[in-house]
Symmetry: C2
Subunit: 354 residues, 2 copies
């Protein structure tokens, strides 16, 4: 059954007022607020029906009404107006995203922090790890006679490095030899294929090199493993204390400790978000995780190129300003996608804006 226009209008007013004040809203306040030219009594009747239909709840008999999860759902689906960000906000976001050294993990971490700051809710960002990666190239750079840096590049174009200090001297030619050896024996192999036997063979070919091959390959394996298993960043957990629903320290603590468990976050939240393309909103009991049953989550996914995806999201009380949060979040997610897709333009070249 479709709700009458007036009921919708009232429901919307209840939700928006409650989002602002965190106080149950009564018939009298609504009569003034909702732009309807009816008395509080009429509104009371409507409220009673909306309550019966399950869109509103009453904390106790003599209190005003509060939206139920179902009420929020209806609001989000049908009544909420898409929020446009101000020019200033978009500018701010763009700048923040383009700033700083652009290493994959740094940017994503940064984006999470930014979203948290922007919305005043805790935020998280995660990258999916799924595809089997391989090493595309090894480089060894001599630092001084007793140390060198190994640079490995994966086929997803991520580069990681590590400094190795040696117990003995090493010459440039030796290093060259090692490099060639590494590049012929280990490039293009997945994690499983980098077997101990393979290492032993290569080690043998290298002659007396203090087991350097194994060291570098182990490092490469660590890199592959870390990338394939994805990463989780959280930021701004302390923001939950800003909101009156978490005056109860126990509640706040529960949510916080949930947020700091990277693994459960990834598993219970990443899955639903990666399916659709759009922004997703999960309201209270719609969440799978028990810890989030009275919490809402707004999610947006982004592309990091190469077919891989990530999710960025915000957690807050069900009384969350969904319109604003969703707008900001999806703008940031789009920004991330573009960032990873777009070629690096030299400063002189014409820039594309939209």
């Amino acid at each position: 059954m479709e709700l009458s226009e007036r009921k919708k209008k009232i429901l919307r007013a209840v939700v928006e007022s409650y989002i602002q004040t965190a106080e149950p809203v009564g018939s009298k306040a609504l009569a003034e607020l909702a732009g309807l030219k009816v008395s509080s009594a009429t509104i009371r009747n409507e409220l009673a029906e909306l309550t019966e239909l399950g869109y509103l709840e009453q904390p106790h008999t003599s209190a005003g009404r509060v939206p139920s999860p179902r009420g929020y759902r209806l609001y989000v689906n049908e009544l909420m107006e898409e929020q446009r960000l101000s020019l200033e906000e978009t500018k701010q976001i763009n700048e923040a995203l383009h700033l700083k050294m652009r290493e994959l993990d740094k940017v994503i971490d940064q984006a999470g922090r930014m979203v948290s700051q922007l919305t005043n809710y805790p935020a998280f960002a995660l990258t999916e790890g799924a595809r089997r990666l391989t090493i595309k190239r090894f480089d060894l750079i001599l630092v001084d006679s007793a140390s060198f840096i190994a640079v490995v590049m994966t086929d997803s174009s991520v580069v990681k490095n590590k400094l190795f200090r040696l117990p003995a001297e090493l010459s440039e030619p030796q290093l060259q030899l090692l490099t060639t050896l590494l590049n012929t024996a280990f490039v293009g192999k997945t994690l499983d294929q980098l077997t101990p036997e393979l290492m032993r063979v290569a080690e043998h070919a290298a002659g007396s090199s203090y087991g350097l091959i194994s060291l570098v390959v182990s490092f490469a394996m660590e890199v592959l493993d870390a990338l394939e298993s994805g990463a989780v960043y959280t930021a701004g957990a302390s923001h939950i204390l800003d909101h009156p629903e978490y005056q109860d320290v126990g509640k706040a603590q529960k949510l916080m400790s949930y947020l700091s468990e990277d693994r459960s976050l990834a598993q219970t939240l990443a899955l639903p978000a990666l399916e659709g393309d759009d922004t997703k909103i999960l309201i209270g009991p719609e969440n799978v995780a028990d810890e989030l049953k009275d919490t809402s989550v707004v999610l947006a996914s982004y592309d990091i190129g190469d077919g891989m995806k990530g999710v960025i999201g915000v957690v807050g009380p069900t009384r969350m300003d969904y319109a604003k949060v969703a707008a900001k979040l999806s703008y940031v997610a789009d920004g991330l996608s573009k960032l990873f897709g777009q070629p690096e333009l030299p400063p002189g070249a014409p820039e594309k804006e939209e």
Copy 2:
């Protein structure tokens, strides 16, 4: 005036009991607990004197005693027994430190998290940034015909990289030329010396290369800047909610927001800690920062080689288990120093244990 043995014994018992229970401790409980063969009345007299001397405080007339900051100070200086870590704990710490890819920032971040988890207090770790750094070497690696990776190495042997995507093709010889150019013109220069003019000259010498020189040098400048200004990592802020002194959400929030301000953390806490070598304990009002006046901080410094230092620390209520925290913290700090000083041993080589 030196305190009598008995007074010390009582003070110590008060501190330790209060650390455990967070409840003011009364004369009767002390009579049983403190291993003294005197009655509660005697203890009352002693307590009264200790209170007069400023080592204890009374929340209100009819409550037990609580250590004052001065009491804690005496406890820390003279009465506290150094805590030895269990073998299991040291093992756990060592493993955690040696795990994972060993990039400077990752390790330090990791160490902070570990300390927080180990102590159940919020922790932070920061690296000092002071010395003027220079770039020691540039490497450009072709990824495919339209992108390359720039690898820069500083004279402190830190390596950072960034992927550049180009709007046009680029060949291996071109890249070689650029590399040589970069290495002759910009190596050994400090941040200030990397002037726009210098860049323009080099750009000219490179001919038509889409302003790539500037791009790479800008990146190098970002790297230098980031390294010179140091970094701050915080972890486990949510742990403050575990402790009853922060049942008051307002207090918790204040401390949390202080902890998330990297800058003030670095300035007000780093300075005192970097002077001495040992573990430092700052109790309540001994802290410079107003936000920490009723909070204690335990600090330990570590070496990251090359004359540079860092600080790792823990924040908690004055009722903190100083002995345990200090032990763990200094163990981790030592571990870090060793980690950065020690050569990388190949797996076959004999390992030194202590």
